[in-house]
């Protein structure tokens, strides 16, 4: 015998019957907890040892209800609230369709509560340092013998008395099971190694995740439609020699909705008539066109004063000046289309309607610049 503390004294019995017979007597004589070890569940043993009713049922019930409610709640929330999608005209909260999954989740929760709850919580498994695990009786128990342990659990007990008692009541052999040597705190080395191992696993997992995330969108045959074999606007194309997918229309062709402007001379353009009425929509359109295209140089007010004035070599025209205000619509239109002096053509940016709308808006600016008192709304 070593100096370790005694955990229990174990008697080995040949049959369940012998074991059952011995228990009441030993219980009477010994004031210490008893525990039996059997190769299979023996009927009546739990009552004999005084185990209380197992709480597994209650746990399962509670978790089953939680499972059911969370599944139903989750389904209702995702399908009806978070991102509602109408399918087959069903109402968003179509609970009928959610029953099968609710049932499955209920069973899943309940079964795992029963299984894992029994193992982890009630039986406190895994348990690898129980003294019984190192006793020589256990291999007998897991085969075909029955063991009764009088447990000291570290307290002092009378080993000899108990040994005698056990033998007296039919134990074929008796073993004294010692408490394991105090494991003590594991060495720092052990912790270091464990942490290193976890770290290595983490780094590995991290890399695997990293590459999975990286390769997932691009490795064939995984297709995601991110890059489709069609030619988007302003995309390069390997087919055309200049590398551009933007093809010029063939010169001389005329597209629908834009008959080319053929007037060469601003003087001749004076006869053109503005086809648009001055409605609010037209003026809004004109303002948008003016702001986006003209205001850079001619200024928001049309007076030719902008932040560009300094940087710009040539002075942009003052559009609200008398000389320009006096020009007919057609001549202004002509300048928008054909450009003038340093000003380039804006025919590509502005459609026919937008150009005429811009002309209308210019009139607004001119009137505003030379407003009279009666122009102020009352």
């Amino acid at each position: 015998m070593s100096d370790r503390k005694i955990f229990s004294v174990v008697g080995i019995f040949d049959s369940a019957q012998h074991l059952m017979n011995a228990i009441p007597d030993i219980r009477k004589r010994v004031n210490a907890p008893l525990e039996a070890y059997t190769p299979y569940p023996v009927e009546g043993l739990d009552k004999l040892l005084g185990h209380r009713k197992s709480p597994v049922g209650g746990m399962v019930l509670v978790m089953g209800i939680i499972g059911a409610l969370s599944a139903l709640g989750f389904e209702l929330w995702t399908s009806g609230r978070d991102y509602p999608q109408v399918t087959a005209g069903k109402p968003l909260f179509s609970w009928e369709a959610f029953v099968p999954i609710m049932f499955e989740v209920t069973v899943l929760f309940a079964a795992f509560t029963a299984g894992l709850g029994m193992l982890l919580l009630l039986n406190r498994l895994p348990m690898f340092r129980h003294p019984m695990l190192r006793s020589s009786s256990l291999p007998l128990v897991t085969r075909d013998r029955f063991a009764l342990a009088v447990e000291a659990r570290g307290a002092e007990i009378d080993v000899e008395k108990i040994t005698r008692l056990l033998q007296e009541f039919g134990a074929k052999s008796v073993e004294v099971v010692e408490e394991p040597a105090p494991a003590g705190v594991a060495s720092p080395k052990f912790f270091l190694r464990t942490l290193t191992a976890i770290g290595i696993v983490c780094i590995l997992a991290g890399f695997i995740t990293y590459w999975t995330m990286k390769l997932f969108p691009i490795v064939k045959p995984m297709v995601h439609m991110l890059d489709q074999p069609r030619l988007n606007p302003q995309s390069p194309s390997r087919y055309f020699s200049d590398g551009s997918g933007m093809r010029m229309p063939v010169s001389g062709t005329v597209a629908r909705g834009s008959v080319p402007y053929t007037i060469r001379n601003q003087e001749l353009a004076g006869d053109l008539v503005n086809p648009l009425y001055r409605t609010e929509t037209v003026l809004r359109q004109g303002r948008q066109a003016y702001m986006n295209n003209c205001s850079v140089c001619h200024g928001v007010l049309g007076d030719g004063k902008t932040s560009l004035t300094k940087a710009y070599g040539a002075k942009p025209a003052n559009l609200v000046s008398q000389s320009i205000a006096g020009l007919p619509d057609g001549k202004l239109y002509h300048v928008i289309v054909a450009g003038k002096n340093a000003m380039a053509s804006y025919s590509a940016e502005l459609g026919e309607d937008e150009r005429w709308a811009t002309v209308h808006y210019l009139r607004v600016l001119q009137r505003a610049a030379n407003a009279r008192d009666e122009d102020i709304p009352k």
Partner: protein, 468 residues
Amino acid sequence: MKSGSTLTTAESTLQLLKPPSVVTGHLTIGGLDDQVLTPVGTKPPLAWFVAFSVTLSATLIGIALIAYTIATGIGVWGNNVPVAWAFDIINFVFWVGIGHAGTLISAILLLFRARWRNAISRFSEAMTIFAVICATLFPLIHVGRPWLAFWLAPYPNQRAIWPNFRSPLLWDVFAVNTYFLVSLLFWYIGLIPDLASLRDRTTNRVKKAVYTVLALGWRGASLHWHHYERAYLIIAGLATGLVLSVHSVVSFDFAVSLVPGWHMTIFPPYFVTGAIFAGFAMVVMAMVVVRKTMRLENLITDYHLEVMNKVILTCSCLMGYAYLLEGFTAWYSMNPYIHHTFMQYITGSYWWAGWLTITCNVLIPQLLWLRPIRRSYSGMILVAVAVTVGMWFERFVIIVSSLHQDFLPSSWQIYKPTFVDYGILLGSFGLFFTLVLLFARVLPVIATSEMKMVLPGSQPAHKGGRHE
């Protein structure tokens, strides 16, 4: 220790009691361990290697063809537009069905206190797990873009999109996964005491370490058994509901759609019965082989096989009823589409599949009314093979025959499987039997602790077994 004397005591006890029908011959509790646990982990015989290499090659063929499918597209299968599901879903339903026997045997029969189940429960549970593994493979590979199959899981994502909980296919995902997890749990919990026995028997250090970890430190304490029994019973109860629900949900894939021939209220019970039917047939088939090769005749007795065959016979009659009812529905509903589909089953392009189904599932099993056939190996293997084939073709009829001619005759189209279809089917059988073979050598094929419990003399003050 003094094992010799213990044995004599046990033997003397046995002498006193008449042997019940759970085992034949003389068997002690310890002897059971010796018989069942000794082969575990030993070098298998040559026949095993031969069988294993055959099944493994089949598996590898299957894996290669699956890789080919994923690399190229579903187009390498025979599926087309009216018949968008074919071998893929047939195999899925087939294997899920096979997977039903295990849970039925271990859970439902446990609840019914059918004592004879203890000998075969472990084995059939294992078959459940393997069949469900084979089954889950198919929904995964049958999708057009399998790399995105994870979208079926309701995980939070930046797109804020969730799966469609109204889709029967999603119910399926939940049902099959739940079934797999719960079956695995049930199986593992049952295995723990046996793993502890193995741990305590083995001397090999590596194996011991593995069994130590797997047994979780099980020590057979009565308190543990107390909770264990309770939990086991509850899981069995839950699994019973599950086993009924899973194939019902699988049947919803069909019953909830509006394809004529699918849209039937009879489908859930019909599918569950069919699943049990096919599962039992597969269990019988495998059991006969295992029993013979592993010399377990005393544990898996003729009585077991006969009871199983009776279950098969019952299911067969139920299937016959279901087939008749389908015809009745087609006639009585006056729905021209359903009527057409039913006539297609028996007279259409795939009439041979329809009649094969009826022959294999209804006619051949009727042989089991004869006791000699129920008790002869060749008889029951014939029936089991017929049922397996028949049930596969039943799914073929339901899926292919219904789809290939539905509402608009303009889109009717014949379906022809390709070599890839056959290869993947072969591969799934290969995978299943590979796993079965591995299982038979690595883990105990009989639940020893459950058997010990019902061996004669194992329980105090009762005559044989605790369940009366």
